[in-house]
Amino acid sequence: MSSLLQLFTRQGAFFLFAALEVVCLYLIITYNTPQQEVAASTWKMYSGEFMNRASKAQDYFHLQQLNDQLREENANLLSKLPNAFYIEALSNDTIQDDSLRQRYNYIAGEIINKSAPSANITYVVNRGHIHGVEPHLGVINGEGVVGIVTQVAQRHCRVMSITHHSVRISAGLRNKDFFGTLRWNGGDTRKAKLYAIPEYADVIIGDTIETTGYSNIFPTGVPIGSVLSKEINEGDNTLELEVELFNNLYGVKDAYIVRDLMKDDLNQLDNQE
């Protein structure tokens, strides 16, 4: 402290000089317009540059925080993409009409997985027990028949397509009274065969094949395909029709699971026998 005082007394002239110059500069900047303008613009220039640098440096410090924020935002946006949703909502189409009683209703679903392209195509549909799906329900879409539900989980079900060895569908000719059984015998997945049509049926190539509704799996009149060729089965005098399927079974996307509301009623008949 004493050395500081000593320094001050020895260099008093310098300190006085410096102090007075500061006072003068202050007076100049405060009371002289031209110098004030120069000082102001210089100050702005340097302070602007300084602020730029400071904010740049600050950006680096905030980088981590910014990253976290962006990651959070990304996750938020990802969760808003359509594929992030398991659609819990059911859209059951029900017709309100007093003279008509609802027989079938449809559970809208989406095919979310398909078996590898081979024989016996199967699908996984994002509907299960909690949506009311049961085994042996039919599945259709806008083009026609898709398949039949085989296994059901809580939220998903497995569907075997009509080109599966174990599928039998009651099918008939549209606007004609003949019907038989549709079956797939392997091979081309675009074609199936309809058996047990009486020999005398006037089948024309190109006739539409549709479901009959007799099996309680599909409603009546769901299109299946069109007749490609006919052949007489010598053994029992029936026609064997080759059917070209309407559905491209590898391209299907939508699935409407058909629920027969009168299945129990119909089953009672079987039990009574």
């Binding site: 002239a13 007075l20 003068c24 007076l27 100049i28 002289n32 110098q35």
Partner: protein, 173 residues
């Protein structure tokens, strides 16, 4: 009261009056810029006795500068330049020390230290003063050439008036 002090007090007021009422009118320039001004008032700092404390010299420079600024309507400008000049006086005196040294009771005048010495002394300090003044006036070195021109013209004019007054009065202290 010491004669040197009395003379200094008289010079303070005299130089102030002459500067703000007479020499202020002497200006010359072109294109709307004043390149020539006459500053005689640093003579007060120049002629202060050699034994004046440096702090006092600086302080007196500040006071006279403010007094000049008062009527020049440029607060701080002349004061800033004159404070600098007053501080630099000791440096210039140190550089220009005669071979036999200063006599502590002297004043740095032409009569006591000779014509050549006084010319060097005054020329250097007036140059310093003008350079600081015009730098403060521009407040930036962007127009450095203009500052140098102003310093040159004003230095010639100021030195003329300064030497003329010294030769006319030739004070000892």
């Amino acid at each position: 009261m010491n004669k040197a002090i009395t003379n200094s007090i008289i010079r303070f007021f005299l130089l102030w009056v002459v500067q703000v009422f007479v020499l202020r009118q002497v200006i010359w320039g072109w294109d709307g810029i004043v390149y020539l001004q006459v500053f005689l008032y640093p003579l007060f700092i120049l002629l202060l006795p050699l034994n004046t404390p440096r702090s006092l010299t600086v302080f007196l420079g500040f006071v006279l500068g403010l007094a000049i600024d008062w009527l020049y309507e440029s607060p701080g400008l002349h004061a800033g330049a004159l404070v600098f000049t007053a501080y630099m006086r000791a440096v210039v005196l140190g550089i220009l020390t005669p071979r036999e040294g200063y006599s502590i009771k002297d004043s740095p005048t032409k009569k006591s230290l000779g014509q050549t010495w006084f010319f060097q002394y005054a020329a250097t300090l007036i140059l310093i003063h003008l350079f600081v003044y015009f730098s403060l006036e521009a407040f930036t070195f962007v127009y450095f050439k203009s500052i140098l021109l102003k310093v040159l013209f004003s230095w010639l004019a100021s030195m003329f008036f300064l030497l003329a007054s010294i030769y006319a009065i030739n004070p000892e202290a």
